[in-house]
Subunit: 353 residues, 2 copies
C-alpha cells in the first residue's frame, strides 16, 4: 500500500519526537511492504519565523494532498502571556483544524500497568480505566463571532452549534461505543446553555438508531468530578469543543501516563495524529523528550487512517516492550538508565523488524 | 448584635442540613449575646410545587431585607434529563444570583487531616492544600443572549463580560490573596476567547495596585490538570462563571472532604452561604445527610457577613471536635457508630455552650 503522509513537526520537542515516529513508521512499512511518501510542512512558531503565518497555504496544500498528517506540537514561550500578539502559533492550530475540517478529536485515556503508580490518583481508582473523549473540534465558542464593544470595555464570544455538527460527532461516538463497551456519555450543560440543549436533544433522537448503546447525559461540572473519582466508569464521552478542551486535559493526568497519550483528529479532508503533551519548550533540542506518545499516535494513524490494524498492533507491542525492558527516556527511567529520545526511537525501529 | 438571616432550606436534604445549622447558629448567638431573626423563604422544586416559581418574589423580598442568607440546596430528580421542562429549579438559582447581585462565589478547598485518606488522590499530593476559587457568578455565558435559529436547528449562547465586572471580582481576589499567601492565579482561555483577553488585560492593569501579590495567568485546560496534580500550589484563583462552575466542582473532590465544603456568595445586596454538596435526593428525609458543610457555611456567614470571627472560630472548633470524637453521620463513620443528621446537630449545639 502507498501511504502519503504529511509531516508537521512544529515547535519545541515536536521535531525530535516526530523524528522517532518516522523511524518506527518506516520500519513497520518496510516489514509489511508499504511505501511511505513523507511530505514536510512548516507550522507554528517555526512557520511564523519563516513565512509570518503559523499555518501557511503551502502547508495546507500538503495536508490536503495527504492521506494522513503526523503532527508534533505547536507553541512557543515567546508568545505566552501576550494575548495581544498579532500572530500567535495557536492560530495556526485553529486554522488547520477548520480548513482540514478536523471535526472530531479522539483522546483515549488508558493505563499502562507499569506506570500506574505515577498517577496522582490512587491505584484502585484508576485500574481498568479505558475511556475515550470525543471532542468536537471545529465548532462552538472557538469559532463563533467575537469582539469588543463600548470602546473595548465589553468583550463577547459566541458559542454556536448546528444540529448537523452535533449529529456528525455523535454518530462517531455511537459507532465507537459499539466497538467497545457500548456506553456513551453525552457531556453538556443543558441546565443552562441553549447549545447544550440542542446537543442533548440531537443525541436523544439518535438513540433509536443504536439501541444497544447505553446512553447517559451528564453535566460538565459533574463529569469534571467523576473523572477524578471513578474514571473507569466511563467508556466513550462526547462533548463540545470547549468542554472537551478542559476535560481531555483533566483526563490526561489521571492515568499517570500523560507523556504516552496519543490522539487523532478525524477530518473531512484528512486525519491528523499527534501526541497530547504539547511543545514542552524546556526540553527542546536536548534529545531527552519521551517519543512514545508520538509513536503511539503513529499506531493510531495506521489503524484509523488506513485500516492497518496489524501494523498498529505491532507498534503498540514494541512500545510495551520498551516499557517492560526499561528502554525509556528520563521521565520514565526512575532509578534505571535514561535513554536519549533518539536511542529510544532507534531501539523501537530495530525491534519492529 | 441583631442578625437578620433569611433561611432558604430548598430541596432534597436541604431542610435537614439547614435545620442543624440553625441549631448551631442559635447556640452560638446565645453564647455571645446576639439576637437572630430567622425568616423562612421558599425556593427550588418546593417553591415550584407551592407557587409555580423556583424563586418567588416573596422569597426575593425576604432575602433583600436580610443581612445574610443561609441556603440549603435546590434541584429535584423530577426535573433531571428534561432540558425542555418549562420551569426548572435551577432557574430559581440563577434568578436569585442575578437579582441579589451575588457576583462572587467563594469556594474554599482545604483538607481535614482525619479525612485525607478519603480522597481519590494520594496523600502526598494533597497535604497542605488550602485554596480558594473565586468564581464570577452573575455574568458570562450564564446570562448572555441565547436562542435558536434556522427553525431550531442552530443554537447559540453568548458570553459577555464588561471591564467593571472583571474588576469587581478581581479586586476581591487580590484582597483575599493579601490576607492569605499573596498568590493569585487568573484562569482564562486568552489564547482563544476575547472575553478572556479582557479578563487578562484587566487583571494585568490591577497588578500595580497590589504590588505584593504574585499573579500568574494560566489557561483553564492547564488548571484542570494542575488542580489534580498539585492542588497545594494554588492559593487564590479567580475565574469567569462557566470555568468556575467546572473547576470548583473538580476541586471539591480532591480534598476527600467534599461533604464538608462550605461556600459563600458575596453580593451587592446581601450574601448567601450554602454547602456545595447539592440536594442529594436519594438521602432526603432519612436523617442521614452530613450537616457539617452547612454548619461550616454558617461559620463563613458569621465571619464574612457580620465580621464575627470568634463565633466562626468556635463553630469550626466544634466541627473539628465532632470529627475527632467520631460524632459523625454514616458517610464518615467508617467502622464506628453512624449518628443521625439531627443527632450531630444536637451534639454540635450542645458543645457550643
Ligand atoms: C492551544 C489551544 C488553542 C488548544 C485548544 O484550546 O484547542 C489546545 O489547548 C488544545 O487542546 O489543543
Ligand atoms: C445548577 C446549576 C445551574 C449551577 C451552576 O451551573 O451554576 C450549579 O452547577 C452550581 O455550580 O451552583
Amino acid at each position: 500500500m502507498e501511504l502519503n503522509i504529511a509531516l508537521l513537526p512544529g515547535d519545541g520537542i515536536g521535531p525530535e519526537v516526530v523524528g522517532q515516529a518516522v523511524k518506527v513508521v518506516d520500519a513497520v512499512a518496510g516489514k509489511f511492504g508499504h511505501k511511505v511518501n513523507w511530505t514536510f510542512g512548516l507550522t507554528g512558531a517555526a512557520a511564523i519565523d519563516a513565512v509570518g503565518d503559523p499555518y501557511p497555504e503551502s502547508t495546507h496544500a500538503i495536508c490536503m494532498a495527504a492521506d494522513a498528517v503526523l503532527f508534533g506540537a505547536i507553541g512557543h514561550p515567546r508568545y505566552d502571556n501576550d494575548p495581544k500578539a498579532p500572530v500567535r502559533p495557536e492560530q495556526g492550530l485553529l486554522k488547520m483544524r477548520k480548513q482540514l475540517g478536523l471535526f472530531a478529536n479522539v483522546r483515549p485515556t488508558f493505563t499502562f500497568p507499569s506506570l500506574i503508580d505515577n498517577s496522582p490518583l490512587k491505584r484502585e481508582r484508576i485500574e481498568g480505566t479505558d475511556l475515550i473523549i470525543l471532542r468536537e473540534l471545529t465548532g462552538g465558542i472557538y469559532f463563533g463571532e467575537r469582539g469588543r464593544k463600548d470602546g473595548g470595555d465589553t468583550a463577547f464570544d459566541t458559542c454556536t452549534y448546528t444540529r448537523d455538527e452535533v449529529k456528525r460527532l455523535a454518530k462517531l461516538g455511537f459507532e465507537m461505543a459499539m466497538g467497545r463497551r457500548k456506553k456513551l456519555c453525552c457531556v453538556d450543560k443543558a441546565n443552562v446553555l441553549e447549545s447544550s440543549r440542542l446537543w442533548r436533544e440531537t443525541v436523544q433522537d439518535m438513540e433509536k438508531d443504536f439501541p444497544e448503546v447505553e446512553v447517559s447525559y451528564e453535566f460538565v461540572d459533574a463529569v469534571a468530578m467523576r473523572l477524578v473519582q471513578w474514571p473507569s466508569a466511563y467508556d466513550v464521552l462526547i462533548t463540545e469543543n470547549l468542554f472537551g478542551d478542559i476535560l481531555t486535559d483533566e483526563a490526561s493526568v489521571i492515568s499517570g501516563s500523560m507523556g504516552l497519550m496519543p490522539s487523532a483528529s478525524i477530518g473531512v479532508h484528512t486525519s491528523l495524529f499527534e501526541p497530547i503533551h504539547g511543545s514542552y519548550p524546556q526540553a527542546a533540542g536536548k534529545d531527552i523528550a519521551n517519543p512514545l506518545a508520538t509513536v503511539l499516535s503513529a499506531a493510531m494513524l495506521f489503524e484509523d487512517a488506513f485500516g492497518l490494524k496489524e501494523e498498529a498492533a505491532l507498534i503498540r507491542a514494541v512500545v510495551n516492550k520498551s516499557l517492560a525492558e526499561g528502554i525509556v527516556t528520563e521521565d520514565l527511567a526512575g532509578k534505571g538508565k535514561a535513554y536519549k529520545t533518539s536511542e529510544v526511537g532507534d531501539w523501537l525501529a530495530s525491534q519492529v523488524s
